[in-house]
Every structure is written in C-alpha cells, then in structure tokens.
Symmetry: C2
Subunit: 296 residues, 2 copies
C-alpha cells in the first residue's frame, strides 16, 4: 500500500513554505521536526525549542477538570522534548480565556500546569494572558540535549527495526489527560545513541509513522499482531487513534539485542515493525494507515 500525505500534512507544508525564511547558523532541525534544535553558544549542548497548544473543543472538553487541562498542555509539549532526547529547562505559557468570569477555571488550569511543571522540573519563566473566544493554552519549551545527539525523523534506514514505548490505542477519554511524557526513556535512548530516528506519537501510529518514513525516504512494514495494545483497545485503534504520547523510534539491527538487554525501565518496549526500502511502500496487513487529521 502506498500512502499519500494527509490533508493536514499537505496544508501545513503549503502554509509554512514561506516561513522557512532564513538560514540560521547552527540550526540542526527546524520546521517539520518535533522540536527545533539549535547549537548553543556552549560547545557541549544544543538548545531545543518546542511550542504546543491545547484548545477547548479540540484537545479537551468544557467538562474536562481544569487541572487536567493544564497538565495536558505541558505534558504534550514535554512529550516532544522526550522525542528529541532533551532535558526541559524553561517554559513560556500563553493562556487565552473568554472573559474574566472564567478566571476561577483559568486559575485551576494554571495550578494543574504548575504542578505538572514542578514534577518534570520545568521552570515557568514567562507568558501572557489574552482574551479569546475559547479557552486555550499554548506552551513553549526550552530544553537542552548533548551536542549533535538529538535524533529526528529523517535518520531511519532500510533494515532498521521500529520500536514503541508503552501501549497504544484507547487514549480517549482518560489516558490523554494522564499520560506520562517519556522524558526519562527519551533521554536514556539518546544518551546511549540507540535511535536512528525518533518522534512522539500524537496523531496515531497510522499518521505519524508515515511522516517518519517520508522524512527518512523509506518504506516500512508494521506487524499488527505485535502491537502493544492498551487495555480494551483493538489493533485498528492502536494504529488509527491518536494521543498515545509514546515514543516511536528506529534502531539499527546491530544494536537491537543490546537495547533489549539494557532497557532499564518498567515502561514496555515493543518491536512493532521494520524499515524497508522506499520502493517497497507502507504495509500494515490491511489496517488503514491513517490517524487523527486536524483538518479533515
């Protein structure tokens, strides 16, 4: 099966073409990667930048408890830093709220956000509160990663094995609010130099893996029977639902045994597929390769 970029990917590509405006010396990964990675003035570190928003009616509901909204806002952005192997340092928070009457809710959102930030050791250093028609939170993160080590989406090669952390599917209605960003796992993987490519699963394996494959110019085969299913989830859901916030990464086959033996976490680690030459296309035993499309 061949797979076309989703409507979202096409639009975003079209919209953002004009934004690739300036070559930045020391920019390692820019637009189109989970995080931006820049050389820092220090020779040992790169800087990692990420922004991510949650919006009422899209990423949470009016009925979602406010502290969980705040937690999700920062945990989503942290999941991208995890995929970059980065250690989070500082956050800027922009909150849009419909009117001062929602102040009590916004304060509870902030409390959830601050508590999550403390847990994952991110200092909130600035931001602003603006008036919008729906509640929204946008979190920008600054992190650091050992120089030149942050993997991105373009490093997978035919023969590399595909892994995911944790379990997939059935993230709504609960887990998308309570997931743990895989910061420790991402930092460890990058520190040990295992991943040839890595990203986090936010729109679902069926949407995100094709993005990694296109960036790396490879094909792939998923083994659906191996997918680590969340309790109650089907294989189809594990591929087509989004908001898993697990790590998806490729590993050269020579490193796979060492990875399995040395994995130090209780978090599940599962080999779910293999990278193929581009001409082989995308294979998933007939399960449609699609995920959450923000613009469908």
């Amino acid at each position: 099966m061949k797979s076309r970029p989703s409507r979202e990917d096409e639009w975003v590509e079209r919209w953002t073409r004009s934004l690739r405006n300036l070559p930045l010396p020391g920019l390692r990964h820019g637009i189109g990667h989970d995080c931006a990675v820049l050389a820092s003035p220090d020779r040992r570190l790169d800087l990692v930048l990420k922004t991510d928003a949650v919006i009422e009616g899209v990423h949470f509901l009016r009925s979602t408890p406010a502290p969980q909204v705040g937690r999700k806002a920062i945990a989503r952005a942290l999941s991208d830093l995890a995929a970059a192997g980065a250690t989070p340092r500082a956050a800027l928070v922009t909150a849009g709220c419909p009117n001062p009457k929602s102040a009590a809710r916004l304060q509870a959102v902030y409390r959830g956000l601050a508590s999550a930030a403390r847990r994952w050791q991110v200092a909130i250093v600035g931001g602003e509160t603006v008036r919008t028609r729906q509640l929204l939170l946008s979190v920008s993160l600054l992190g650091t990663v050992p120089r030149g080590r942050s993997p991105h989406r373009a490093g997978a090669r035919p023969g590399h094995r595909l892994f995911v952390t944790g379990s997939l599917g059935g993230s709504w209605p609960h887990r998308h609010l309570t997931f743990t960003p895989r910061l420790r796992e991402g930092g460890w993987l990058v520190g040990k130099n295992f991943p040839s490519a890595m990203m986090d699963l936010s729109d679902g394996l069926g949407a995100d893996l094709p993005r990694l494959a296109r960036a790396s110019r490879i094909g792939f085969r998923i083994f659906p029977e191996r997918l680590p299913l969340a309790s109650g989830a089907t294989r189809r859901q594990a591929i087509t639902q989004g908001e898993d916030y697990e790590l998806l990464f490729s590993v050269p086959s020579a490193k796979v045994e060492r990875l399995r033996r040395s994995w130090p976490f209780s978090t599940r680690l599962t080999e779910i597929g293999i990278c193929l030459p581009a001409r082989s296309g995308f294979h998933s035993s007939g399960i449609p390769l699609r995920g959450y499309d923000h613009l469908a």
Copy 2:
C-alpha cells in the same frame, strides 16, 4: 496622585501566582518582566525568551491586510526583546485559524511574518497550525544578550531621568501595524550600559510607567509639555493610548549628558520625566494615568 494597579495587572498577578513554580538556577528575570532572561551555558551570553500573541478583534481587525497581521505579530514580540537589549535569534510561530477556508488569508499572514522576520534577522524554526474560532498568531522568540547586562523594570531609582524613544499617541489605526521595533536602539543602550530600567510601551505610558515604578518602588513626575507627540495626537492620547512600541527607560542623571551627546540614531530621544521617592507618588499634571486595559 496615587495609582492602583489596573484590573488587568491585579488579575494577572492573581492568576500567575501559582505559576512561579520552581527556582531555576541562572534565571535572571522571570514572570512579570518583558522577557525572561536566563544564564546560557556560555559564560558570555544570557538567553532571552518572550512569547506574544495577536488576536483578531483585539490586536487587529477582520479588515486588516493579512501581511500586516503577520508583521505585527512578530514586531510586537521583537519590541519586548528590544527592551531587554537582546539580539533576536529564533522564533516559533503558532497560528490558530477558524477553518481551512481561511487558508489563503493564513498564507498571506505567514508571508508578512516571514518577510518581517527576514528583515529583523530572526529564523523561524518551528511552530504549529491549530483550529481556533478566531484568527490568532502567537510568536515565541529566543534571543541573546551580553551576560548580566539586560535591564528590567526594577532598577530605576529616585533622581534617575525618564526617557522615551520616538513619538507617542495616535497609534491606531495605522502605526500599530507599521512600527519599527527599537532593536538597534535597545541593543545600543544596553551595550553602553545607560538604562537602569527599561521596558517597551505597549499599553500606553499611563499604564506602563506605573508598572516600572511599582517594580522599582519609586514615584515619578511626567512633564506633559515635553512629551514627543505623534502627528495629530494630544498629550492625553500620548499618555492613555497604547501600542506605541517605543522604549521607556530610566537613566542615572550622571549619564544623561553623555547619552544625549552620543545618541547615534535618527530616532527621537526625549526626556519626559524624573523618578521620585515612592512616597512622592505618581504625577502627570492632572492627565489620568491609565492605558489600555485588556480586561476592563
């Protein structure tokens, strides 16, 4: 005249109290300053972070030409970096748009933004496009400043003189879309170590100067007859209207003559007042000290 914090300042203080969550080693200025300033791993530089949003119906209108919306979004954030004396390096852009039908408008917004970013030498390195009920753009900037040199709002002392760049008042309907962020002026002032405190004027002198005064625990007197009025603007407008995007800064009196003699820009430089002891209060010859209040 004494002046109470605006409704906005009170709400923001209340909302954000819970966000001051974690002491960050090397954080020089955090929440409550125009920009966050952090020690960089490099000993010569500090990192400067800023996020700023523009929203349809608040910062621009449906009828505002799209490229000017993009330009304003980044120019506003750059104005804050100017007040920190920082050199901009990289930007993340979050765009919210009501539906894919507004794609043509969003593309024109992005073109304006990219062109402005090129002009001021900022690389756009990431971001996202999300669906919102009204068009909005949030820009997060990373910049650098010589280590330990970035002024903030709290350094003004009684006897220091108050200066502004450019001219004030009458920013709507045009200048708020076409202003030049004072990056060169801010960088020069900080490089020469003139300002004891500095901020940019976004909500109007009548709102912003009291913020600087409260942060510095001082009083002040404005000389309205000295205010550099924009063409057609009254003194009252120069104090109470917002969106000037000029620099407001205090200078120890011993440095004033040297500042005047060495100012190398065609941009106007005007002494508009003097810092007083806190007990003297805030004086503006009867013109009300208020500005644009986002939550009034």
